[in-house]
């Protein structure tokens, strides 16, 4: 089965002042699939998402979306093309109600009837949001805010959704539930997803294709099924041993990416 490439990064380099965050990243996200990027803190995962959604302008390289060069375009324009970003730490509008937050997600749309239908569909994914529709988003628990952030993105009818650490601060049960919904959104709506996540165990099972990012460079790419079997992935990202990845060993093993 072949899948059309929806998003492609070609040798993207990005920096914050003197700090080089991405040192030539190339990756592909294929239509209808879930792709994930693994990597430690500071590897550049969030920067990849920011570069795609136009928040960070790359120094070099290009971002191709549906065959069109969208490098360094205006973020608002990029959203209107169906490319929507769910930021790390949720960033809901705390003083707006749940319903108003959802309507903000649909800001770029003028088809009111379809917006109303999408709102019902979002409430079907997360019934708690319907219960809390009139409440200020700032009063929701962390898990509910994450649900709202994902729902707000859905209200824009995304072709491609960028998800930055959806499990942050969530209980094991809630993390599992959020991932179940992410997978459902992908299967039922055909939404393509690019996912950044520290919970590698969840990410490598929910996603189809995976990339490992280190110090701003992609060091490994494969299907998630293949990545799950690699020794380095098991050791550094899945932490297969009960005593933690390193046991009582405090020094870090050098990663060789066999």
């Amino acid at each position: 089965m072949t899948h059309e490439v929806v998003l492609e990064l070609l040798n993207v380099e990005a920096a914050y002042g003197p700090v080089r965050a991405l040192r030539g990243v190339s990756l592909q996200v294929r239509q209808g699939r879930i792709a994930t990027v693994l990597g430690s803190n500071g590897a550049g995962k969030t920067t990849i998402l920011r570069t795609i959604s136009g928040i960070v302008d790359p120094r070099k390289g290009s971002v191709i979306y549906k065959g069109q060069d969208i490098t360094a375009r205006d973020p608002a324009w990029i959203v209107r093309q169906g490319l929507v970003h769910v930021p790390e730490g949720r960033e809901v509008f705390p003083l707006l109600s749940v319903r108003e937050n959802l309507l903000m997600g649909a800001y770029t749309r003028s088809d009111r009837d379809a917006v109303a239908r999408d709102m019902e569909q979002v409430y079907a994914y997360f019934p708690i949001l319907k219960e809390r529709a009139g409440q200020d988003a700032g009063l929701l628990s962390g898990g509910q805010q994450q649900m709202l952030a994902i729902s707000r993105a859905l209200m824009a009818r995304p072709v491609l959704m960028l998800l930055d650490e959806p499990s942050l601060g969530l209980s094991p049960l809630l993390t599992r539930e959020i991932f179940e919904i992410i997978v459902r959104i992908n299967r039922e709506r055909g939404t393509t997803i690019l996912l950044v996540e520290q919970n590698a165990n969840m990410a490598l099972n929910a996603a189809d294709d995976g990339y490992v990012l280190e110090n701003g460079r992609i060091v490994m790419e494969d299907t998630c099924a293949a990545l799950r079997e690699k020794e380095d992935i098991k050791e550094f990202y899945l932490g297969m041993k009960d005593a933690g990845v390193r046991g009582e060993r405090r020094w870090k093993k050098r990663k060789t990416w066999r």
Binding site: Y16, G17, V19, L38, G39, S40, N41, G42, T46, E88, G89, S141, G142, G143, Q144, E165, L168, G169, L170, S171, P172, L173, L174, T175, R176, E177, F179, E180, V183, R187, Q198, A200, N201, M202, N205, A206, D208, A225, F236, Y237, L238, G239, D242, A243, G244, V245, R246, R250, K252
Partner: protein, 279 residues
């Protein structure tokens, strides 16, 4: 990172005692008749679903909220104090430091500056000395800087020392916040989800740091955490909360085996295989 803090009361003595604590927010019983003791020298962990009241307990201890009922007692250096009768700004001086779930650092200051602020409760200089920058003040500044540098070494933050907090990745900010709390040289450290945003390898570092904080720095740790692997690895005792109430407490193994905890908190979290796309 000097010696163990002996002579400040023996290990095992109750350091923090929470009795029948309760608080109501607009009709919602966020914390409902919660009691527990934290003993000196242990790692005591609160677990529970999102919205169970864990962070609210932290906010009651650090006096951000006023409880509706119950009390908190704390063994300070000078003797027992009724913590719930203390003003919020006294809490740090009593030897209690904390980190926040959503990270509350000074975003537009360097890592070093943020850590120096953590050391503020221990400043030795005074207004006139500061104004004239006397030799005594200079010595005090140097000592403060040395104390902060020890924390930087301990948490391996050297390469971030002069960087602005706002540009740092989430997981690094998490560690900076821990550093700021340690700079206050607390007796009791409250950690709110120390591993969130960290990958498994970085979580291992956190586990080692927590070990060292307890064993080498002699600090007692009260923690809220979701990563059960970290919880079982470092905790002496665990208390599970649900909807503001105590569900069960005991050793990490006992709590994880409890049917109520599995139902309310862990669920089918281990089942990740069913997420995969059918071939």
């Amino acid at each position: 990172m000097s010696s163990k803090r002996d002579g400040k009361g023996g290990a095992g003595e109750v350091l923090l005692s929470v009795r029948n604590l309760g608080v109501v927010f607009g009709g919602l019983r966020a914390v409902d008749d919660v009691s527990f003791d934290v003993r000196r020298g242990e790692v005591f962990t609160l677990i529970g679903p999102n919205g169970a009241g864990k962070t609210t307990v932290f906010n009651l201890i650090s006096r951000i909220y006023q409880p509706g009922s119950g009390e908190i007692r704390y063994q300070a250096e000078g003797g027992e104090v009724l913590l719930t009768a203390q003003p919020p700004h006294k809490v740090a001086a009593l030897g209690i430091a904390r980190t926040f779930q959503n990270i509350e650092l000074f975003e537009h200051a360097s890592v070093l500056r943020n850590l120096l602020i953590g050391h503020h409760t221990h400043r030795e200089s005074h207004f006139w000395g500061e104004l004239l920058f006397t030799p005594a003040t200079r010595r005090a500044e140097r000592r403060a800087r040395e104390a902060v540098e020890r924390i930087i070494d301990f948490l391996e933050l050297q390469k971030y020392r002069d960087l602005m907090v706002s540009g740092l990745p989430y997981g690094v900010r998490k560690v900076v916040e821990l550093g700021r709390a340690l700079c206050a040289r607390p007796d009791l450290l409250l950690l709110d989800e120390p591993s969130s945003g960290l990958n498994v390898e970085e979580t291992d570092d956190m586990a080692f740091w927590i070990h060292d904080i307890v064993r080498e720095l002699g600090i007692t740790v009260l923690m809220v955490e979701h990563d059960m692997r970290l919880v079982s690895r470092v905790s002496d005792r665990v208390l599970a909360l649900n909807q503001g109430q105590v569900l069960v407490s005991g050793t990490p193994t006992q709590v994880q085996a409890s049917a109520a905890v599995v139902e309310a908190y862990l669920g089918s979290a281990e089942d990740v295989v069913s997420l995969r796309r059918p071939a």
